[in-house]
């Protein structure tokens, strides 16, 4: 499978990339790792006339701690996140999530910026980023702006990023000592993409849940946070009973994707089960 012809440009800096994006408009697409874009181009689902390769902009590949915020450069690979000591210490659930993505070869090349900008509804990062309250930093011709992850995913494969904007950074609050995170994906056995995935971040105090962020993906067209479940969990005892009650609310009122592999009813039930498992994992509950 050979992609359609295109013109290739390599950007050596963020400014240069933004200049090129402004100049070529919607004729051009950004190429980061290429691990989503190249398969799309091979299938000719995407036929950009021009590619702007940002893969060599090393200044976009970093993981740093700034006060209580972990900052991740847009070109940081899944493998970087999976193996980073800083991530293991400050946001272990993100390392677990990155480890779930595809296979070693894809993780060596694919980037967090590319995955978020691609906005596949069954990708691994979206629910985790929602649960972790991430902020996306975008830069375009008109300067830099921050987009809350709550406003980032618009529809399948569409984000709040403007045509001329580059995703340059993801900011995530480091986990506090009373906070627990967990992520589980039930993957399609052949593609590895999610059938249902769920991530949570729970704050605890004296056995009580003081704050909860609960996010789902893969079975809906746009990954989402369930604020009714979050509200329900607030100030409840961190017990199996609590989470069983909460699990009844999972996917309520949601339009659920169904296909030949997993129909909508199955996914709805699976989502409840996965939520239970994720909560047990986060709260360290057994039965």
């Amino acid at each position: 499978m050979i992609p359609a012809s295109f013109e290739y440009f390599r950007a050596n800096s963020v400014d240069e990339a933004i200049e090129m994006m402004a100049k070529y408009g919607d004729e051009a697409k950004i190429l980061a790792g290429g691990q989503s874009l190249i398969p799309m181009m091979k299938l000719r689902f995407a036929r950009p006339a021009k590619l702007i390769d940002i893969g060599r902009i090393d200044s976009l590949r970093y993981i740093t701690l700034d006060g209580d915020t972990v900052k991740i450069g847009g070109l940081t690979t899944h493998r970087d996140l999976e193996t980073s000591n800083l991530i293991a210490e400050k946001i272990p659930v993100l390392a677990e999530c990155a480890h779930e993505i595809a296979d070693l070869q894809i993780r060596n090349v694919g980037t967090i910026g590319g995955s978020l900008a691609h906005a596949d509804p069954s990708a691994d990062y979206p629910p985790v980023m929602l649960a972790l309250d991430a902020t996306v930093v975008a830069r375009g011709q008109n300067g830099t702006r921050e987009i809350s992850i709550n406003d980032f995913f618009i529809s399948p494969f569409t984000t709040a990023l403007g045509q001329d904007e580059l995703l340059i950074e993801v900011k995530i609050p480091a986990m506090k000592s009373n906070e627990k995170g967990a992520y589980i994906k039930i993957a399609h056995p052949a593609t590895g993409f999610g059938v249902v995935n769920c991530a949570v971040k729970i704050a605890l105090s004296n056995g009580k849940i003081t704050n909860a962020r609960v996010a789902f993906g893969s079975f809906v067209t746009v990954p989402y946070r369930d604020e009714s479940i979050e509200k329900f969990l607030q100030e409840k005892e961190a017990t199996v009973d609590t989470i069983k009650q909460a699990s009844e609310m999972v996917a309520e009122g949601k339009d659920i994707i169904g296909d030949y592999y997993a129909d909508a009813d199955y996914r709805r039930n699976l989502a409840k089960a996965v939520f239970l498992r994720v909560m047990k994992k986060a709260l360290n509950l057994d039965s």
């Binding site: 295109f6 190249i38 070869q105 090349v109």
Partner: protein
């Protein structure tokens, strides 16, 4: 329009002209005539096209050759030194890590990255790392055994 790129392939510097849309695997197979790297699926699934790019395992059917400009590429042809097999090749040979051999170059190149890690690796973790490589013949057990054997071999030497 073709573009000139520089690669260091199996230690040798080379300069080739490619269209931007030329996939790395076709540059390796059809321009450099190194046909040890295979194309199994052409859809990023099977891992037969795995090569090392600057020491990291990558799927060469899912990269444009222009992305590799200036990089070091190692293919299966770069493993043996003259007549002496690389430990991973020796292990695949002795532990029957292959049957038809189609997946083998990709399996061995992936193993090369795995073998660079200094720490011990459980069989479970090893199996997880093979996720991106498919084999229609062996049932994987002998591949896992071969990589574990190569690990032991290389640790013994080091």
């Amino acid at each position: 329009m073709k573009q000139t790129i520089n690669l260091k392939v199996n230690g040798e510097a080379c300069q080739i002209d490619v269209e931007p849309r030329t996939l790395l695997v076709y540059a390796i197979r059809e321009i450099l005539n190194l046909t040890g790297t295979h194309v199994g699926c052409d859809t990023s699934s099977c891992g037969a096209c795995t090569v090392l790019m600057n020491g990291k395992a990558v799927k060469s059917c899912t990269l444009f050759a222009v992305q590799a400009d200036g990089c070091e590429i190692t293919t299966v042809e770069g493993l043996a030194k003259q007549d002496e097999l690389h430990p991973i090749q020796q292990s695949f040979k002795e532990k029957h890590g292959l049957q038809c051999g189609f997946c083998t170059p990709g399996m061995m190149m992936l193993a090369c990255e795995i073998l660079q890690a200094s720490e011990e690796m459980s069989e479970e973790n090893l199996r997880k790392l093979l996720k991106g490589n498919l084999c229609r013949c062996t049932g994987y057990q002998n591949i896992v055994d071969s990589i574990a054997d190569a690990k032991a071999r290389m640790t013994a030497v080091a």
